[in-house]
Amino acid sequence: MTAAWYEYFALIPVQRAFVALCISSAVFPVVGVWILGLNIVPVRFAMMHVALLGIALGMVLGLDTALMGVVCCGIVGIALAPLADKPTGLAGPMGLVMTLAIAAALLVLSIAGVNANGAFELLWGSILAMREQDVWMMAGISAAVVGVAVVFRRDLTLLLYDREIARSSGVPIGLVTTIVMGVIALAIGAAVRQTGALLVDAITILPALAARNMAQSQRGMIAWAVGIGLVGNLGGFILTLVINQPPGPVLVVTVSIITLLTYLKRR
């Protein structure tokens, strides 16, 4: 190794990655908690493929592919929300969306005569390749997440516990579900594109899973998820620089180990 790890911070991509990670690992674990509460863990895979469809459409129509990917995710997330009231829930439709979206994306690319590999490359982003506008988009979506978490705090606490209890308490569950699904889909869509598919789990679902083992309340879960997200991801990022390995796998391994440890706590 030629440089000490902290010397990498002189590089612009490393600075951007660090800022993006500070923001997202402080905020996206909240999205992970919502995903667990709505029981829609497959949303990550579904949105990854919807983002690909958006990218394909962007390439074909000559629009900004990053934006199209995120916009498509938001639309599909909102469109799925009414299914939350079905007894079978959202997990099944998520699987359907995943398959349908990738088939549609390949079809769109094929009809337009565009090379599919180009679209896949655009899908698999890396946190070290973030542009300045990507960091801003990340910050904007994070602000939306915080806004929803604050404005709908009481409604969400009841909704994630039980839809009927929430409804009988006067929570407009259709509206709240739609807003939350839209924000989750936007967040996942943006994160997949910008940080890479693997890293999305390290900043969303893994901290939430760990928090569920540690906390006795939803408020506690959010606090633990954010804490574990920050410690795991920022610690993992420094580890990445120290051992000079790609950030995606290192961060996921770091946060996964923390998450595994929390399972020991359970009796």
């Binding site: 667990l36 509460g37 029981n39 209890i165 409804r167 259709g174 309340s217």
Partner: protein
């Protein structure tokens, strides 16, 4: 106590169902149920397991949507979502299977969802639930859980709800608890529709309906 007389029809209906049929796919759980609950009445709904009592109440609450016929609360149809904000302020609800959701909810958070959170909290304290206010609902016993849901419902009645709808509210209680709960329910709720097997509670009601195989009929007394 109120007797069932002709002149009762002058008293406004708080809850009315007309030819209500509820299905789960091809299973018919409630058949042609017509019931009117007038202001001031306490109605008990009895019947064997699986006879359709919970389904009937969940349809009244707007939770079970696979139905035909009409349901109105205070003259407003439950089927119309536009009425929901009003409907959910008009009803205090005690569910049977108090969701043991996958996610935690604290006792005081549930009490805060009552129409009058302060009154709900006071009820919980009166029912000896003060030590449990910061506990997770999933760590309570069945009887404790029922007292929390009762407190929430009592708070909503204080906060202006006109009708108490309760599904086996005394099922998890000990004998003394059942007696006390029966008294509390009938004294607190001006108008009530309650599913129950509990003698003490049935005896305090003005009318009794029985469900069997999804059909509802009034039990002569």
């Amino acid at each position: 106590m109120m007797n069932h007389r002709e002149s009762d029809t002058d008293i406004p209906a708080v809850l009315a169902t007309d030819a209500l049929c509820c299905r789960y796919g091809t299973t018919v759980a409630v058949r042609d149920a017509t019931l009117v609950v007038r202001a001031g009445e306490h109605i008990a709904l009895i019947g064997g397991n699986g006879s359709g009592k919970t389904t009937f109440l969940r349809a009244v609450m707007g939770f079970h949507r696979e139905y035909s016929g009409h349901i109105t609360i205070g003259g407003r149809t439950v089927a119309s979502r536009g009425n929901h904000p009003w409907v959910y302020r008009a009803i205090a609800w005690m569910p049977q299977r108090q969701a043991t959701g996958a996610f935690p909810l604290l006792v005081h958070e549930l009490l805060d969802s009552s129409l009058d959170p302060a009154a709900a909290r006071q009820s919980a304290i009166d029912l000896a639930m003060e030590p449990f206010l910061t506990r997770n609902l999933s760590t309570l016993s069945g009887g404790q859980l029922q007292r929390v849901f009762l407190s929430r419902a009592l708070g909503s009645l204080t906060g202006g709800a006109q009708l108490l709808v309760a599904d086996e509210p005394t099922a998890a209680l000990d004998f003394a608890g059942q007696q006390a709960m029966a008294r509390l329910l009938t004294e607190s709720a001006q108008t009530m529709l309650v599913v129950t097997h509990d003698r003490a509670l049935i005896e305090r009601c003005d009318r009794v309906y029985e469900m069997a195989g999804g059909q509802m009929r009034e039990v002569p007394r």
